[in-house]
């Protein structure tokens, strides 16, 4: 049996920066392509409620929508079981977003003619009409207090993947405080990236929810990724008080026991905990505060047999912890989020734990702090404005020779959504957004900051 090592993260080189920059762009494209937002007109059809009953502006859940979700997609009126539905009712939702968008990166390494070696940096802009991936989502109840969700998601020309697939046993022992969910699911983030308003390539995800320092080999993609495992959760009757504890395979949501991206190798588990509390303030709305912690392990190398990877080894720890708040002043609300992240030194430097000699001098576990402030102003249920400022700053680089700001993110996004159709059957939103993100020292040649920009105009269909 051989041992295949992960490549150590050596001294920064031009090519490495090119790769990192490319990986960053690919990551953004991947995230946007695989980032379904959750809004379910099938529920509106089932219960006869308009989208606005559950969403501040879909897909952001309001208090009522959150309680409905927490109760296992049940209103609790003894009409939740499918046996009470018209046989023609079909709990399927489709979502796709035709759009025009522009993407600009101000410093891209451009190859010399006839070579694959970048020799200059220049701004690159692409734009045109485009199509998002397609979500075909079915969710609801199998029976009273047994709910489910299956969401196959696919991009044009690519194979589908299960964004989520789970079954949940609700209100165990007749208590809303005991619910068990099994399968692949979104972590119980009160501030849900799956239900936020922005969709563009640069602004279509929260960087904090997916941040990994440059050169880090951690297979965990962030708390924004859906994970596979079992979750115990609970809430009071109006979902002002909520908790969840999840035991998850360390596979970042990939089926096939794929630890660190290698199928059939997983052997460790992660834990996610989230608690939050809402408290109404007269005349303002329900304010919410909470805290979370994700603690896990990720492999640093793999055992192989005949060249085939067979088991993840050398797992090292990482954590993402923080707090959040959601503040309402009538139609104006602000989400605030803080994260402190840290990875083990081996993960941070991409070094197998059985080869400490490959660690660069002074290597340490990287740490970072991040957060965002995102505001929404709901003019009425059919028009909502949004703006966000977000940052992630590395407080300790894994390799002391790294530039201090390497990988830092500073971004902002502004936009609005207008819902000309918001019925209890379907929804349509006109979406307009501008987003910009500065990535620290990622220019491939000059090692200066890179700025990515997105402009998006789209029609968001949800049926």
């Amino acid at each position: 049996m051989n041992v295949r090592m992960m490549q150590p993260d050596g001294v920064e080189s031009r090519n490495r920066r090119v790769r990192l920059g490319s990986l960053m762009l690919l990551l953004i494209v991947f995230l946007v392509a695989s980032q379904p937002s959750y809004a379910i007109p099938a529920f509106a059809r089932k219960y006869g409620l308009p989208c606005s009953a559950c969403h501040i502006g879909w897909p952001i859940l309001n208090n009522f929508g959150l309680a409905f979700k927490d109760n296992g997609y049940q209103l609790g009126n003894d009409k939740d079981s499918p046996i009470y539905q018209n046989p023609s009712y079909w709990p399927i939702t489709f979502r796709v977003t035709p759009q025009w968008h522009l993407e600009n990166t101000n410093k891209v390494g451009i190859d010399a003619p006839g070579t694959t070696t970048p020799t200059t940096e220049q701004s690159v802009t692409v734009h045109g009409f485009d199509l998002s991936g397609l979500d075909i989502w079915t969710a609801g109840t199998l029976y009273k207090n047994i709910s489910f969700s299956v969401l196959p998601s696919m991009g044009e020309g690519s194979t589908f993947h299960f964004e989520n697939a789970w079954v949940r046993f609700d209100n165990l022992l007749n208590s809303p405080w005991l619910n068990v969910k099994v399968g692949k699911f979104e972590l119980d983030n009160l501030l849900s990236e799956k239900r936020f308003l922005t969709l563009s390539s640069v602004g279509g995800f929260w960087y904090n929810y997916h941040f990994t320092p440059q050169g880090d080999s951690n297979g965990f993609g962030g708390i924004g990724d859906n994970q596979i495992g079992v979750e115990l959760s609970g809430h009071n009757s109006n979902s002002y008080s909520r908790y969840s504890i999840a035991l998850l395979s360390s596979v970042d949501g990939a089926p096939g026991l794929s630890s660190g991206g290698q199928g059939g190798t997983a052997r460790t588990y992660d834990v996610n905990v989230n608690v939050n509390q809402g408290f109404p303030i007269k005349g303002l709305g329900v304010q919410r505060i909470g805290a979370y912690a994700y603690v896990g392990r990720s492999p640093t190398y793999f055992l192989t047999s005949g060249g085939t990877v067979v088991e993840a080894k050398g797992s090292k720890s990482f954590s993402r912890v923080g707090a959040f708040g959601w503040w309402f002043i009538k139609s104006f609300d602000v989400e605030t989020f803080y994260m402190h992240g840290q990875d083990n030194a081996y993960l941070g430097n991409g070094v197998p734990s059985n080869r400490p000699d490959l660690l660069p001098a002074g290597a340490v576990g990287p740490t970072w702090n991040g957060g965002f402030v995102e505001a929404h102003y709901t003019v009425n249920p059919q028009l909502i404005f949004t703006g966000r400022y977000e940052l992630v700053h590395v407080s300790r680089q894994a390799n002391p020779s790294n530039l201090p700001n390497l990988g830092n993110v500073d971004s902002f996004t502004i936009g609005y959504r207008w819902y000309p159709i918001m019925l209890s059957r379907a929804g349509l939103a006109f979406h307009n957004e501008y987003a910009q993100a500065k990535m620290g020292n990622l220019a491939p040649l000059t090692q200066t900051d890179v700025i990515n920009r997105s402009v998006m105009l789209g029609f968001d269909f949800d049926y």
């Binding site: 219960y47 006869g48 209103l75 003894d78 009757s237 007269k282």
Partner: protein, 275 residues
């Protein structure tokens, strides 16, 4: 300083004329004051799909909702603390919004802040002219519940027979009495009597889940349905006995009434007078 009483009274009259519609568009629930102007926005967000923009129960989705959404223009409400035929109190409407209605599409809206629900109450009252010309009824008085005994349950069973509750609800309380299939509400829509026997431990009635709620239901009646008020027919103590008996028609539900019946060796839903 000489007071010009004519001018003063004139100002007062003008003030009253112009403020009375505003006051009428308020609700008062505990220490909350709901305002119709705010409620209108919330109504558009949460309620309009079923109850309609005019509040007449003809929202876009109404044809597919069973039972049909409440018609606020008619201002006939099932769940009240007030005598039959009278308008409910603001608190009654607030409770209805908060609690929702079992076996209907009306969910419990308690996740909404109390102020929002109070605002909705104020707006709902703007749909019917009844709120301009009538006051809400006086809530009925509910005496303290007496102890549950086998005698009270037996007496309740006698009343159940005597008042012919079984004609709609059936002898076993299954909602399958001989008249059940013929019942309609005030909109000529078919309506089913409550099925006590199916009630699980977490079951609710249309207007609440406690013994006090059950007492209130048959002392106020469910206006707009065939369920009448029995306030003029039975005395409070008799009503409590009937409550105790009705609880025994829910054998799957944990209750002190069922404990008493089990203690007496009988099966709850088949308890006979004098047994």
């Amino acid at each position: 300083m000489k007071v010009n009483w004519k001018q003063w009274l004139g100002s007062l009259a003008i003030t009253m004329v112009f403020t009375s519609p505003i006051l009428a568009e308020e609700s008062h629930v505990g220490n909350l004051t709901g305002r119709a102007a705010e409620g209108k926005k919330e109504y558009r967000r949460y309620c309009v799909g079923c109850h309609g923009p005019l509040g007449d129960g003809n929202g876009d989705n109404a044809p597919w909702v069973d039972p049909r959404p409440r018609d606020f223009v008619a201002a006939t409400f099932k769940c009240r603390s007030t005598p039959t035929g009278t308008l409910p109190t603001d608190q009654d409407l607030f409770n209805a919004i908060t609690r929702g209605f079992t076996n209907s599409n009306m969910p419990h809206w308690d996740p909404l802040p109390a102020q929002t629900r109070a605002d909705l109450v104020a707006y709902i009252k703007t749909f019917s002219p009844r709120w301009q010309s009538e006051k809400a009824g006086e809530p009925i008085k509910i005496p303290a519940e007496p102890a549950v005994t086998s005698q009270s349950i037996e007496h309740g069973h006698e009343l159940f027979q005597k008042m012919e509750c079984w004609k709609c609800h059936g002898q076993q309380g299954r909602g399958d009495g001989p008249s059940a299939a013929t019942l309609t509400d005030s909109k000529d829509q078919p309506i089913r009597p409550y099925n006590f026997a199916d009630a699980g431990n977490d079951s609710r009635f249309k207007c609440g889940s406690s013994n006090e709620d059950l007492y209130r239901i048959f002392m106020t009646g469910l206006d707009g349905t065939p369920m009448p008020s029995f306030a003029d027919v039975i005395q409070p103590n008799d009503a409590w006995d009937l409550v105790h008996y009705l609880r025994t028609l829910q054998p799957k539900r944990r209750s002190k009434e069922n404990d008493v019946v089990k203690g007496g060796g009988g099966k709850p839903s088949t308890a006979k007078p004098g047994s």
